[in-house]
Amino acid sequence: MIEEDEKGLRPSLQEERKIRDRRLRHDDKRVRRGMQRHLCLVLDFSKTLLLQDLKPSRYHCLLSTCEAFIKEYFDQNPISQLSIIITKNSKAEKISELSGNPSRHIQAMKDSIATEGEPSIQNALDVALSTLCYVPKYGSREVIFISSSLTSCDPTDIQKTTIPQLQQEQIRVSFIHLAAELHICKFIAEHTNGSSKVILNEEHFQDTIMLSCQPPPSMGKVEASLVEMGFPQRYTSTIPTLCICHEKFKYSGYICPRCGSKSCELPTDCQICNLSLVSSPHLARSYHHLFQIPLFQEFNWRDSDSIIKCFSCLLPSLNTSQLYFSCPRCHQVFCLDCDLLIHESLHNCPGCENNFDQSHNNDNDNNNNNGNGNSH
């Protein structure tokens, strides 16, 4: 369907549709997801990183994309943990331990500068194995391997030794290839329920890795359990006391409810009694993964003569090149910008909120009256 707007130009509706579809690609099925994620990010620091097919160089592109990924990952999954492993010179080394502190990871990544030699896929996966096997079973165990080289220098046969171990520990390995896809990587991904992707350009790289911020559906029989967590209160005093994370004197901090020691920031694990310490907003950040809004469908407003307005921002439909979408549950109409905002950032449909008694009763299981509000 070709249309022209007032200036006689053919509007790029197709372009806009493609961009929107690319950004909102996600499945909204109600599946069980591993909320507490433990992710090992493996970076290939071989000499192929110095190639300049990605601007300004693969190394810079990798660093900036990973930094953005780490921030977004902790933003979307605040109670999860991350560890970074780099592989070069046929060896693999863990540069940051499994923890929930994004700045520490980013700093460790920036501190490791040298790129040389060849990567070793098996060694990297072994290090990841040794890190993840101690993680409790109710959390998801994942590895994301960003490989840029076309070779690997391994001590033994991956297929015979490493892959069975990965399967036994239920670790999901996904690959993102900066160069070309390797058969062995695809093999590993298939056998561990992961994915193998090749990037096209810098933007595609960022989009692909950001898709991993959403918790993946859990595979197989996952043992659910009740995890004991502490909700500490912030304590400020005029006399400084010692904190256990930095061993420095600080005026304020969070007191662990079980052992009474002071930590500086949340979320963390109390270093004395090993209790997970979180605050309720951290848990609340992950709720939107559980209650996802359905994708909106395009609404053909040009048939009717009247001007329609977006429900949430009152944008009138003056230009024929504007796209409007409607929510399948509440049937309200939204403009393109609101659609993107709702699905990417807000995770609330204003139309459904307006009829919230109805929709919440029908669609959200029993979470109606179980919010963390104050009981009056």
């Binding site: 009740l226 909700f231 609340a284």
Partner: protein, 319 residues
């Protein structure tokens, strides 16, 4: 057309103020009862001597709105009312009849007219609830702000909530989603509490978005509080002192008894919080395994660069 974005460092105060007015008729009706009780009883509570009714409140609010529009020629405003069951735009008008050119009312007159003639009919489906639909109002305001920021990139938005109803715990998830979205876009959320209890939702919201939280002690002087505190634009907030909360209670309440917990049990599937151990989760229905694993002792923090094979022994103790 080239759009030049502004940074927060530049000195100007063009702002978009979105006001969410709580027009819950039960809460305001209760207020009338409280005020008439006060005249009868001799002992009054701290706040009981200075409560105001809806019409007085509207007068104070209009003075505030007038001053906001006076401060800068480019200041913009939007007013959303959060009522029982739904939230509506009061200004800009969602269904604008073609105004005759000769009778162009000023913005203040339009808002005043809408506030005094609110459509307070409640939909049939919402007859049983008594709480304001705050999450819908917040969602609408965030979408509107997103639109105006695209049209006028240099404008600095903020949200101002005037609340009188208690928190609705069923809206917790939606409200938290809105708060995180506002936090990401650096939109401060200011709150003025007119009820006698504090509102945890709004305390958390103002704290997370670096907004102002205030509960005026003498409500008959409401306009003075509003003018001296809530008209602070985003640039001035960095240089001036604003009333903030010393500490906000971020502890969770358990789903079963609604008690505040210090240590709770969290279901790993649906993240619902319980105060005591049970065999299955009441929200998602998953049964919990009774196997208790003793985790291995912590290895030393720095792992050597490895060619080692991981060991696979774990101790499992079955009960």
């Amino acid at each position: 057309m080239v759009i030049i974005e502004s940074t927060d460092e530049e000195e100007y105060d063009t702002s978009l103020l979105v006001i969410i007015v709580d027009t819950n008729i039960y809460s305001w009706g209760n207020r009338i009862l409280q005020m008439s009780n006060k005249t009868e009883s001799t002992s009054s509570t701290k706040l009981g001597s200075s409560l105001i009714g809806f019409n007085t409140f509207v007068e104070h609010l209009m003075v505030f709105i007038n001053l906001h529009l006076m401060l800068n020629q480019e200041n913009q405003i939007a007013v959303i009312s959060s009522q029982i069951g739904e939230a509506r735009f009061l200004f800009p008008e969602p269904h604008q009849s073609q105004s005759t050119k000769s009778e162009q009312k000023s913005i203040q007159n339009i808002i005043l007219g809408k506030l005094l003639h609110l459509d307070t009919t409640i939909k049939e489906t919402n007859q049983e609830s008594t709480s304001s639909n705050f999450s819908a109002a917040l969602s609408l305001s965030l979408c509107y702000i997103n639109r105006i920021k695209k049209e006028v990139p240099i404008i600095r938005p903020r949200i101002f909530v005037l609340n009188i109803s208690p928190d609705a715990s069923s809206q917790y998830i939606s409200v938290m989603n809105c708060i995180f979205s506002a936090q990401k876009q650096s939109i401060p959320l200011d709150t003025c509490i007119l009820s006698q209890q504090d509102s945890t939702f709004l305390q958390q919201a103002s704290h997370l978005t670096n907004g102002i939280y205030l509960k005026p002690q003498r409500q008959e002087n409401l306009s003075q509080y509003l003018i001296s505190t809530f008209l602070m634009d985003t640039y001035s907030r960095k240089l001036l002192q604003c009333p903030t909360l010393k500490s906000v209670d971020y502890r969770a309440t358990c789903f079963c008894h609604k008690r505040i917990v210090d240590i709770g049990f969290v279901c790993s599937v649906c993240l619902s919080i319980f105060c005591s151990y049970s065999s299955s989760c009441s929200t998602c229905g998953t049964k919990f395994s009774l196997k208790i694993e003793i985790p291995k002792s912590r290895k030393s923090l720095s792992q050597p660069s490895s060619q080692e094979q991981p060991t696979n022994n774990k101790d499992k103790v079955e009960y």
